[in-house]
Symmetry: C2
Subunit: 341 residues, 2 copies
Amino acid sequence: MPELVHTGVMKKLINSPQEVVREALEGMEAAHGDRLRINYEPPFIARKDAPVKGKVALVSGGGSGHEPMHGGYVGKGMLDAACPGQVFTSPTPDQMFEASKASTGGAGVVHIVKNYTGDIMNFELAAEMLEGDGIKVETVLTDDDVAVENSLYTAGRRGVGLTVLMEKLLGAAAEQHASLADIKKLGDVIRGTGRSMGMALTPCTVPHAGKPSFELPDDEIELGIGIHGEPGRRRVKFASADAITEMLMEPIISDLPFKKGDDVVLFVNGMGGTPLIELYIIYRKAAQIAKQHGLKIVRNLVGPYITSLEMAGTSITLLKMNDQLCKLWDAPVDTPALRWG
Amino acid sequence: MPELVHTGVMKKLINSPQEVVREALEGMEAAHGDRLRINYEPPFIARKDAPVKGKVALVSGGGSGHEPMHGGYVGKGMLDAACPGQVFTSPTPDQMFEASKASTGGAGVVHIVKNYTGDIMNFELAAEMLEGDGIKVETVLTDDDVAVENSLYTAGRRGVGLTVLMEKLLGAAAEQHASLADIKKLGDVIRGTGRSMGMALTPCTVPHAGKPSFELPDDEIELGIGIHGEPGRRRVKFASADAITEMLMEPIISDLPFKKGDDVVLFVNGMGGTPLIELYIIYRKAAQIAKQHGLKIVRNLVGPYITSLEMAGTSITLLKMNDQLCKLWDAPVDTPALRWG
């Protein structure tokens, strides 16, 4: 019988804060080793069949704690590889370099990077190293969070929910052997036409910190929260699901602006600790608001797809769609967390 | 702007405790109305293409709060209809009757019922009403929870995680037009060869109760918890993920008993508030333990598939597999929560 440990108020299903990421990778290998290859030094998750010859390789990564993003999106029709950092900490350039090297099928690599200072810097270094090896790299950013212009870890807007849609759509394009230039161009279009905003009811606890990332009174919510618990726009008194949905949808719709007649995908995301039944209550109102604005929801996604550990809360993402994007959305995908077709 | 409401310490994304189930159904209709039909009086979720002629109809249901079960499992290759009760409350016989009537394609109905007194009683009444209308009904029970023999809402063992696997496997058989008798027989085999056990780190709060379903000290966990927060086997001091996994796996394996050489599906379930990264840490150890016992994991499932609102915790299910069951497992499924093939 292993030793019983008591870690105080931090109640988590872990063995040691230092081993969380490695042991979770071992679990992924045990569960999905038929389709994924796990590298431990440095850590990355790759398609078992990588490199796929002649195909542009899609590589992403970021701090752990947002599962299933990114490791859960590695597979046919989505990412070729993902680099997990420690919880809420950027992966290192050597992870990105090795993951890209292992994935490249000779047609170049696209890095999908969420706009956080550490991620940007490290992916830039990795891209330089890859270019030095003669591998062409394009970078696609996500900075879809309309809540704040700059943040704790960000110059400019933060990359959040749009990243999931970006990985699905570019993944489908890459699977159909779109060129490096075309994928880059498509990624920039998606970046330009997707917007998100989130909120939290509760904080979360990073294992190696051992205490909640922030304090939130019982009667308040944080509007515009970041996926690392970074401060949002403002704290407001607790409100109904419908009121909260309006507070998220209005800034999203007015930012772009989305306009009457637009086709959109509506993505209602759970932050981790929010039950699915509540996400459907949010979806209900978000769909009503979209309709009031004349937006046509042509595709949707509801569930915990980009999380912040056990944080309770939600985020909403809208992305303009067209026939090409709908076809890419519907294309087969076979990853641990997203699977259809 | 809707009125802001403050519901005290119960921080949930809802509008009113009384409207949770109805509004979540409206959200499901908005999101999945292309594939599902939502009936409101009485409430049930049905396949849009139901009834499928000549096919046995699979109908399940139970209290809400366990999403995605059961409504998220309605669709091709799984359930024909699901009846959501109020949170943690059995649906009524008229829901089950109407859902079954709407789904039956002339080859009879199978009710998949978790072993809770209210569910059993109401599904029995519904079955009698259906038989009165000349519709043949068979009932398949799940009572896979090895934690306790009798419980707050149960005579005999509780039905938990095995229900998800049951719905997938019988759903595939029904889709292939297996007969009523064969599906009943297969269901009884699955019932007899699947076992589960769960644990909780935290309680959850039922909306209309407004306060946590039980109290759990900071340094304790509840071993053998039920999906409604019913008491389990015992409370123990907080322990490492590996130790907790042993405490769950040993009673499961020794109960049946599973034996060396058995093929199994290993299902690590999240109770709602536990991050996926922690579930993979549990899976890692559970797979090691299975291997030590000579069990061969031929299929697996990792994620929040039968939840208890926002409860933090996990449950593990093992089911003996064979070639027939593997084929049924791999068969296409197209539901909001489980989709492949």
